[in-house]
Symmetry: C2
Subunit: 293 residues, 2 copies
């Protein structure tokens, strides 16, 4: 039973009772309607209608088709309204992914968004693995570093990730506060474990310090944060993290060379949906506040 359009045509013929009426309802020429019905009957090997000069009277088979196609038409209409409604409505699942280090900033925004749109089920994925937008693993991704180049991705600037150097009071008490960025000898640092540095802060550490000065290394930014708080050494932290911990002392304020751009990335197929657009708007509004502060 291929060619569903012919079924639809026959359905309208059965409903209207005439070929002309069906043609008008379908917006096609009545010759097309005749051809569709003839083809469908030929394929089924059964007459669906009795033809006479005043119209088409459905046979038993035609009445059967009429019933089935009627329900199909209803189902499709409901489907269309559901799909179209979903396009304008902000509901259903909405999955966001980012590096774990952005969680302190994103979580409040996402919570507020969820409060504004109660019908949305939010999923926030953070993990070492890169979740792929093109496989539907997430609707929106927060990415750092150079702007992503995937052709099917829509990339927008989100905010600038700034970082300063901080140390815990316990560390300063033990090792003192460096006089300036040119007098760092003897100081211990918390840094990444990666072979090839990617973030500007990582590159600065690699270029400025002797390797043995990076005494505490971890690939996990949250672990680095905990290490700095524990007095393991001086480390890069976002200013908001530092502000949240009174125990931290600023070694060097954030500077432009240490900041890296953060990007909002969406798949082009989902970017136009108002659900994604609403979330992007909320995220960018939050970013505007951050940049102003």
């Amino acid at each position: 039973m291929d060619n569903w359009d012919e079924i639809r045509t026959a359905y309208h013929v059965a409903r209207a009772g005439t070929v002309s009426g069906a043609a008008e309802a379908l917006g096609v020429h009545h010759a097309t309607v005749i051809r569709h019905v003839d083809a469908l009957e030929a394929r089924l090997g059964v007459k669906l209608f009795q033809r006479h000069a005043r119209g088409y009277t459905p046979t038993e088979a035609g009445q059967d088709l009429l019933r089935v196609a009627q329900t199909t038409d209803d189902q499709f209409a409901q489907l269309a309204s559901r799909i179209r409604g979903r396009g304008n409505d902000v509901s259903g699942e909405l999955t966001v992914t980012s590096l774990a280090m952005f969680a302190p900033r994103l979580a409040p925004v996402l919570a507020g968004f969820q409060r504004d749109h109660p019908r949305v089920i939010l999923r926030y994925l953070t993990g070492t693995r890169l979740f792929r937008l093109e496989y539907g693993e997430a609707h929106v991704a927060v990415r750092a570093g150079p702007p992503p180049q995937e052709p099917d991705n829509v990339v927008q600037p989100f905010f600038h990730m700034r970082a300063g150097l901080y140390a815990a009071r316990a560390y300063v008490a033990a090792h003192g506060l460096p006089e300036g960025l040119e007098a760092l000898e003897g100081h211990r640092f918390v840094g990444p474990d990666a072979e090839s540095p990617r973030a500007p802060t990582e590159r600065w550490l690699r270029e400025t310090l002797a390797p043995e000065q990076i005494a505490f290394r971890s690939p996990d930014p949250r672990a680095q944060e905990d290490a700095v708080l524990a007095g393991a050494g001086i480390g890069f932290l976002p200013p908001w993290t530092a502000a949240a911990h009174p125990d931290l002392i600023e070694v060097a304020p954030p500077r432009e060379a240490w900041s890296s751009p953060i990007w909002l990335v969406t798949h082009v197929d989902l970017h136009r949906s108002s659900k994604v657009q609403a979330l992007l708007a909320a995220l960018k509004a939050a970013a505007a506040e951050w940049d102003a502060a």
Copy 2:
């Protein structure tokens, strides 16, 4: 939600997960599949799939469509098997119409047919009004007289309606038996009431007798039969009716000039169905027995 074929294409894409797989399943080129999906998405204003190099991943809307189209596909498959099955199966309604005078001959045949095909619901319409095949009022019609000429009707010879002249014993006792067909003066006849005679028997009465000899007139053949039985006069009766009543005396045996052809008429749109064919076969088998007798 017009264009059901595009829904069907999208359904196969969602099921196969790839455009190529859907194209193979549908037996079309994969470019066609892409065009259908693009057109459907454009009309809905919502992306149904996320495109990536390894295939198409359905979005929420696409999954919704998949569910709906799955049930639709099942419904259509069942419909097709029902319709196709009904083409070969002898079941459902089967409506026959004839002049009331044929009821004594047809009823036994129809009853036997109904016994052989228990799943058939037989409707036997007899009435003064002519039931029209082209409006679906009947599947098979039994017609007398010249072969019907309607273009959409399939006409087959059924049997020859023979008639003889008979009278009740009471009439013969009162008026005597005519010596021959040339000595009918003074005899009373039962005949039709019609202005224009159609059956050969009616024409013979009109041409042979004085008008006042047709003393009992009725448009209803069964009423004429009752009149002859009651001794109202000599009248034309089918031989089988005469044989069923021992009280009747044959005035003149059936002759060729008094017989008229009876036709089996079906609408061309229904003629090929095996249900109609089965009934036609049963009717013609009965007619063969009648002609042999």
